[in-house]
């Protein structure tokens, strides 16, 4: 049984009429922006990466090939994998001259806390700071895999497609990343 890419209809519509690409853009703009923000730690850089990613995806859409497989799971979208691979390339090129500033991500996360509960807010901020300091020390793909898993809620199959690794390798990558973070958080307590 063929497993369909969840975005097949949207991609087909955009191929017939490039103006219909807007639907794909609206669906994924927050995800791509979030990924770029975690990678670069800067709003302006994340906006630039997001814009460049979608412009490239629009122009190159005729070259996209759907490769959804049953192992990708329900709701898997190879368009999303393709889009994030573009984003990854754009981030890599952007990072050449930029310095990652994870503190801005901490500020963003702290805003999510309940502003009326000061004690919880302080606790949360400390927890977020510790978690992010640990994540920041991870090697590139380990950090990337955690962000894609937790923030973008991608499956290991999708993450494998984005990172260019096997699913088994991605599971080991995530497991090792979690153990490394656990060691850091445990030693800090």
């Amino acid at each position: 049984m063929t497993h369909l890419d969840a975005d097949r209809a949207l991609v087909a519509a955009a191929r017939r009429d490039p103006a219909r690409f807007d639907a794909l853009y609206r669906k994924y703009v927050a995800q791509v922006y979030s990924y770029a923000y975690y990678e670069l730690g800067d709003h302006h850089e994340a906006e630039d990466v997001t814009e460049r990613t979608f412009l490239q995806a629009l122009v190159a859409l005729p070259r996209f090939e759907e490769r959804a497989r049953p192992a990708d799971g329900e709701g898997a979208s190879t368009f999303r994998v393709w889009l994030f691979r573009i984003a990854r390339n754009v981030v890599a090129n952007s990072r050449r001259s930029k310095r990652r500033r994870p503190q801005s991500v901490l500020d963003e996360a702290a805003v999510v806390a309940d502003p009326l509960d000061i004690e919880a807010g302080v606790t949360r901020r400390a927890e977020v700071e510790a978690a992010w300091a640990a994540i920041d020390r991870l090697p590139g793909d380990r950090r990337r895999a955690l962000v894609l898993r937790f923030v973008e809620e991608m499956s290991t199959a999708e993450i494998a497609g984005v990172l260019g690794r096997s699913e088994g390798a991605v599971r080991v990558l995530i497991h090792r990343a979690l153990r490394a973070v656990a060691r850091e958080l445990g030693s800090g307590r």
């Binding site: 009429d17 490039p18 103006a19 690409f21 807007d22 609206r26 703009v29 927050a30 995800q31 922006y33 979030s34 923000y37 975690y38 994340a46 906006e47 630039d48 997001t50 814009e51 460049r52 412009l55 490239q56 629009l58 122009v59 190159a60 070259r63 393709w82 889009l83 691979r85 573009i86 990854r88 390339n89 754009v90 890599a92 090129n93 050449r96 963003e108 999510v112 806390a113 309940d114 606790t123 949360r124 927890e127 977020v128 510790a130 978690a131 994540i135 955690l146 898993r149 937790f150 973008e152 260019g164 599971r171 080991v172 995530i174 497991h175 090792r176 979690l178 153990r179 656990a182 958080l185």
Partner: protein, 192 residues
């Protein structure tokens, strides 16, 4: 690492992955519950929990710490407009091309549209993969605009349009000569 060690690691990794699957699958329900309950309590997925306690605690911490961030509405709409402009340029290019063939976006593109921007070879320390910049957009629109203008002026116009154009040209030449443009009388316009 020995084969046994590698297998053990893969088994542990698979166990962790299943735990994460369960955690993420329950996120929506937990989000709703967290809105009504006190925050700060570590949440764990239901079902078999045979994961190392330190890993469970770490996963719970990351589940709280790693939140999605959203761009501003203004940014989102600005990029949407830009995408629409590029999409229009692509449609004009396609219309101007041969029947049934898709003409790629004009060669003003800073990168080769024959390349796949998702190709990992385009990342890394090599030459920067330039994004689509405003000059491209202007180039695309200029080409599209030129095509539209050429199409318009290539069409036969009605007598009234020719009369209006002639009147404007007459007024412009009079201004260049330094005088005030004289009112255009109908008979000054050469009838078709």
């Amino acid at each position: 690492m020995t084969a046994f060690g590698r297998d053990s690691l893969e088994v542990d990794a698979l166990r962790t992955d299943r735990y994460l699957e369960a955690l993420l699958a329950q996120r929506d329900a937990r989000t709703a519950a967290a809105n009504a309950a006190a925050t700060g309590t570590a949440s764990t997925p239901s079902g078999p929990v045979d994961l190392d306690p330190s890993l469970r605690s770490t996963i719970a911490s990351l589940d709280r710490a790693l939140v999605r961030v959203h761009p501003s509405f203004r940014f989102e709409e600005r990029v949407a407009r830009r995408l629409a402009e590029v999409a229009d340029a692509m449609r004009v290019s396609e219309a101007a091309g041969a029947e049934g063939t898709r003409v790629p976006v004009p060669v003003a593109l800073p990168f080769d549209p024959a390349l796949d921007p998702a190709d990992p070879a385009l990342a890394g320390p090599g030459p920067v993969l330039p994004g689509v910049s405003r000059p491209l957009l202007i180039g695309a629109l200029s080409l599209a605009g030129a095509a539209i203008v050429a199409w318009r002026f290539g069409r036969p116009v009605d007598p009234m349009t020719r009369a209006v154009r002639a009147a404007h040209q007459l007024a412009a030449s009079q201004r260049r000569a330094g005088g005030r443009p004289h009112p255009v009388r109908p008979h000054a316009v050469r009838p078709h």
